[in-house]
């Protein structure tokens, strides 16, 4: 059964038609990556058209929609989720949230073989911070430990945080990483990473529980924006 999977939470977005029930080599029918970092919302509809056409599948024949829930750019996370929810409502199919950093971690790393042991998945959270997930590469595959992820200072100590670290995967620019730690630079999940992550979540209708992983609270410091005028309140206006 074919699914559309998409993740627009990261700098490199991905849209694909996949079959989560078949082996890895045959799971991805068509995939598009969107490298432009700030234009995902604009490019997403054409990318969906493209993968559906190349996989030769009608949107009404889809079994479901899998969507990356972040963490990542707030707007990027919402773009994917809003599109997926609208599509799912229209075709009456389940929309399933996929943790984005899990999909990053499960994306193939060839040609770099991933060593066994503890590792980190890191993604840019802007404002001098990073989203971090800790994982273990075990004999039976990759285990993602903190599903909810965390925010860390951008220059956090890699070795301290992982309790021993064999590899770092993701947006690693600016991190001080010891020479014996394997580094896999990555700016988003691959289509195969999304399929693998999709296999790990309940694929029955989970629309109500489709929750974005913002990780950080909204900026809600005063002064706020005036309801419709979109400008700060008049500071000259005091109490009577």
């Amino acid at each position: 059964m074919l699914w559309v999977v998409l993740d627009t939470s990261s700098p490199t977005a991905v849209v694909a038609v996949v079959d989560p029930d078949v082996v890895d080599d045959a799971a991805v029918f068509a995939a598009v990556t969107l490298a432009e970092t700030r234009r995902h919302a604009e490019a997403l509809p054409a990318a969906v058209d493209d993968v559906l056409a190349r996989a030769d599948v009608d949107v009404g024949a889809l079994a479901g929609i899998g969507v990356g829930t972040g963490p990542g750019s707030f707007i990027g996370v919402r773009t994917g989720l809003a599109y997926a929810k609208g599509l799912g409502r229209a075709v009456d199919r389940p929309v399933v949230g996929v943790p984005s950093l899990t999909a990053w971690a499960l994306s193939p790393t060839e040609p770099v073989p991933l060593p066994r042991g503890r590792g980190l998945v890191v993604a840019d959270a802007r404002r001098g911070e990073r989203y971090v997930a800790t994982v273990t590469h075990a004999d039976h595959g990759i285990v993602v430990h903190d599903d909810e992820h965390a925010v860390a200072d951008a220059t956090f100590d890699v070795l301290d945080s992982a309790g021993g670290c064999a590899f770092v995967l993701g947006g690693t620019a600016g991190l001080a990483i010891p020479g014996d730690v394997v580094v896999v630079e990555r700016s988003g999940p691959s289509a195969l990473g999304l399929v693998r992550a999709l296999r790990r979540v309940d694929r029955t209708d989970a629309r109500a529980a489709l929750v974005p992983r913002y990780v950080r609270p909204p900026d809600a410091k005063l002064p706020a924006v005036d309801p419709a005028r979109h400008r700060p309140p008049d500071p000259a206006e005091g109490p009577p």
């Binding site: 919302a41 604009e42 490019a43 997403l44 509809p45 054409a46 969906v48 058209d49 949107v59 009404g60 707030f74 707007i75 919402r78 773009t79 989720l81 809003a82 599109y83 997926a84 929810k85 609208g86 599509l87 799912g88 409502r89 229209a90 075709v91 009456d92 629309r207 974005p212 913002y214 909204p218 900026d219 809600a220 005063l222 002064p223 706020a224 924006v225 005036d226 309801p227 419709a228 005028r229 979109h230 309140p233 008049d234 206006e237 009577p240």
Partner: protein, 355 residues
């Protein structure tokens, strides 16, 4: 051939998540209208916080659309058009509704119509169930859109052909109500409270400034009102008088009268100058009872047909977006899937959102 060709519209430009289903025939029949207000989510911050608005829209949009479909007794397969506000508004908030609409449209292979928020307000009066389609305003008409964020006069020659004639140079009319109410300790939103208190007040009791009365332009100015209210309250305090009871009612009536008079003075001037004897109101302040009554009275007196949206369609809603989309579809227009949210979109450029 299952589709009933209905219009599904969503609106998410500020702090209301709204969806509606409209039957496009017979002048547009409203089958459902759901509005989820975020007021409670923003209240602790004293105003709309953009990131909270965006998160709330995403959390609510699918349920709001689901409710709109259920209320209309319609399935997704009954839709023929999907419409969404593309601007102006908060960019992150707009993005949620617009992108949801794109996904829905793709799922059913439907045309997408990106609607300008102001053109939505200008079309709200067309959705009056009490008014038969034959009573709909002809074109051109003069549009007066008044809310907490807008106070502007337009000449409208059709969808995509609205031209700004004049607007407020400082506060919007709704802001003038809200700020006056705040000065009087009446809470938020102030327009509703002032409207109620003014019912038993004398609108001529307390002189209030009428700015920009000259007939050389169609602009408004309301910032002098809050100063006048503050000065009046301070003056009474000095004399040991509390502004309450009848005095408060008189003050509310006087402030309201000044706002209503300024708006209608320029609106009627525009109708005369443009030789367009049709006036259409829209926006949250169009729910004000004095503005509604006075617009009707002056219209009758000056030979101007006046159209008022039902009160429920004055504040932000998706019915008005559906009505504007209906007008675009009558011209066979639709928007490209790459349409982007435009936080500052001018109304004159609304047709650029469609091809």
């Amino acid at each position: 051939m299952g589709s009933r060709g209905l219009i599904l519209a969503v609106e998410s430009s500020c702090d209301e998540t709204a969806a509606a289903v409209v039957e496009p025939g017979a002048g547009g029949v409203v089958l459902s209208s759901i509005i989820h207000s975020q007021v409670a989510a923003h209240a602790p911050y004293g105003g709309v916080v953009p990131e909270i608005a965006s998160r709330e829209h995403l959390a609510r949009i699918d349920a709001v659309v689901g409710d709109a479909l259920a209320d209309a007794g319609a399935a997704p397969a009954d839709m023929g058009v999907v419409a969404a506000t593309y601007g102006p508004g908060l960019v992150g908030a707009l993005l949620v509704g617009l992108t949801y609409a794109k996904g829905f449209a793709r799922g059913r292979g439907l045309p997408l119509v990106g609607v300008h928020h102001i053109e939505g307000h200008l079309h709200a009066a067309l959705a009056d169930p009490a008014s038969p389609p034959s009573r709909n305003p002809g074109q051109p008409f003069i549009g007066l859109v008044v809310s907490g964020g807008h106070s502007a006069l337009y000449r409208v020659d059709g969808i995509g052909r609205a031209r700004l004639l004049g607007q407020t140079r400082d506060d919007a009319a709704g802001e003038a109500f809200d700020k006056s109410a705040k000065l009087l300790g009446l809470g938020y939103p102030g327009g509703v409270v002032i409207d109620r208190l003014a019912q038993r007040g004398d609108p001529a009791a307390i002189p209030m400034p009428r700015s920009l009365r000259d007939r050389t332009h169609y602009d408004f100015s309301f910032s002098g009102l809050k100063t006048a209210v503050r000065t009046f309250v301070e003056e009474q305090r000095r004399r040991g008088v509390d502004v309450q009871g009848q005095l408060l009612a008189d003050l509310c009536a006087s402030v309201q009268e000044a706002i209503v008079d300024a708006l209608l003075h320029k609106a009627m001037l525009a109708c005369r100058r443009q030789q367009v004897p049709v006036l259409v109101l829209g926006g949250g302040v169009a729910a004000n009872s004095r503005l509604r009554a006075e617009a009707a009275r002056r219209g009758a007196e000056q030979g101007v047909e006046v159209y008022l949206p039902p009160r429920a369609l004055c504040t932000d809603n998706a019915v008005m977006i559906a009505m504007a989309a209906r007008a675009w579809r009558a011209q066979g227009r639709s928007s490209p899937p790459a349409l982007v949210a435009a936080p500052d979109a001018p109304v004159e450029a609304s047709s650029a959102a469609l091809s």
